[in-house]
Subunit: 242 residues, 3 copies
Amino acid sequence: MIVLFTDFGLEGPYTGQVKAVLHREAPGVPVIDLFSDAPAGRPKPSAYLLAAYAEWFPPGTVVLAVIDPGVGSARAPLVVEAEGRWYVGPDNGLFELVTRRAARPQSWEISSFPVALSASFHGRDLFAPVAGRLARGELPSGPPRTAESGRRADWPDDLAEIVYIDRYGNAMTGVRADCLPSEARIGVPGRELERARTFSDVPVGEAFWYANSNGLVEIAVNRGHAANALGLAIGDAVAVLG
Amino acid sequence: MIVLFTDFGLEGPYTGQVKAVLHREAPGVPVIDLFSDAPAGRPKPSAYLLAAYAEWFPPGTVVLAVIDPGVGSARAPLVVEAEGRWYVGPDNGLFELVTRRAARPQSWEISSFPVALSASFHGRDLFAPVAGRLARGELPSGPPRTAESGRRADWPDDLAEIVYIDRYGNAMTGVRADCLPSEARIGVPGRELERARTFSDVPVGEAFWYANSNGLVEIAVNRGHAANALGLAIGDAVAVLG
Amino acid sequence: MIVLFTDFGLEGPYTGQVKAVLHREAPGVPVIDLFSDAPAGRPKPSAYLLAAYAEWFPPGTVVLAVIDPGVGSARAPLVVEAEGRWYVGPDNGLFELVTRRAARPQSWEISSFPVALSASFHGRDLFAPVAGRLARGELPSGPPRTAESGRRADWPDDLAEIVYIDRYGNAMTGVRADCLPSEARIGVPGRELERARTFSDVPVGEAFWYANSNGLVEIAVNRGHAANALGLAIGDAVAVLG
């Protein structure tokens, strides 16, 4: 299975062209849109989101992950293997957390470039062909990554910031819930939120936090739009209290 | 074929994870996104929309329908068979109209729960595996539904309200057009709309109603945005006149 | 491969129903969403966008293209063959550029109509079945197009207007970049933009133009939203300054 994690959106031409390449390179392999609205052009929050969601998929999954504000610049293209999953994308920090949380991660630079390589769409021209070949069973052919340009040792293990806001207005953080005591509170500007099990456990209109279905601390309002109600945006800091 | 009817959206993680489960449980079965923007958290308008659109699909289709504001609460999970189509989702009224309009509907409670059941994402953890098993030919294994908690005998046969607004601004109602005389007018605040066959039969900018391609009374403006022009939102009442 | 080029969006019911028909008519043929947000109801900018993006796909591809503000009126339904690709859709100018740029284009009127033809959704009821049959290898069965109603001889070879704005705010024009000298500038209200190779070649926040990954002149801002920054909308004229 190939899983897409991008900021490309689905309605414009980008995801469709990537899928056309994947169908050509790996016919019959299912392609799943995991996120096509990951934080646009922001590898740091995306890295925490990716790490939380990729681990739900079985070993052998190929994750094509492209949040690539530096496309066409010197950042290296990369293949990472972590916990049996393959990741393909730019070496800009996006794979920092999946790498750091893995027992024996491996990574390779992509050193073979297609003849027809656009300056602005490496997702289609460079990364998708590599993902397709991995999905049909080929092993990475590039040299092991030596330059550590894409590692971000200064990034924390969990990111106490909003990393994603879903269509209901729920605001995910980059903090894993099982790293917190159950009585922890989450501070947002002017408010401290208690933990609940899920939406229907609190009154309509009440804000709370809970462990979402992929293990992240998520801020929500029962039948409300938490991000609007609490004024939250991607990149905003939250406080972990107690 | 498996058909998805949800309020999950496509760009975030929800629909993709559901599809990953369906691919695992029913490999090779096509999965169609019918609505991923059904009325968010509102089973009542969704029930009329679902009934109108599901009947376009052939018998044997499995419809995974999740509009589930009470996820994690006591509402039962359900399988319904109606006119040869299978429906899987929460017993919160969403299947009232497909049930009521069927000759010999059957329903079963889902009584077997997965070990890994999140509190907030039953679409992925509970309903999708059941839909996948139905799609590969298994029969429902739960007890027949006895509790009638999900039936809504007080809901009308047709709902004279806006149930959906499409991307062009056309406003669908929950009223079946073939239940109306051809000269019927539809009243919205401050206006009475005449029937037309289709857009190009009225002048540019003119509001009208017509029988849409799935049989619902739909309010439209030729080359305009009816919902904005007439101030219509989901849940707004309309009047059926004569 | 079947490629969809429409203004239907993905989240509502239109694209899903089209795909259900394609799966029925051409089981196993991959269906790619190229654009589902092409300029709504505007065949002219859509025609330039289609011509630029369709040529990226290999010969044999079937393109189902539906931008059809006149659905239900007298405009003819059409099949076009151009450079080995098949196009199916309304004869309203949408295929003017793919036809004009092809060496030996052929076109046929669709003369066989389904019994169940809605007045408003020919994409599903008329065009999708034809596209499916082409994709499984059938040849067009209608008479050669004789009426030239859909040709637009007065449209220019390249359209110096904005034809699409993507989710990042980049504004594509209908001008092919390889038709311009490399030192050309593009004029927008109050500004003249220089050419760059790609985003990372200009300072953050700077506006420029470049040849996008499908060959169109595109106006962009490095890490910014060009359409908002420069006040650009679909249909706005730009100046090509030699």
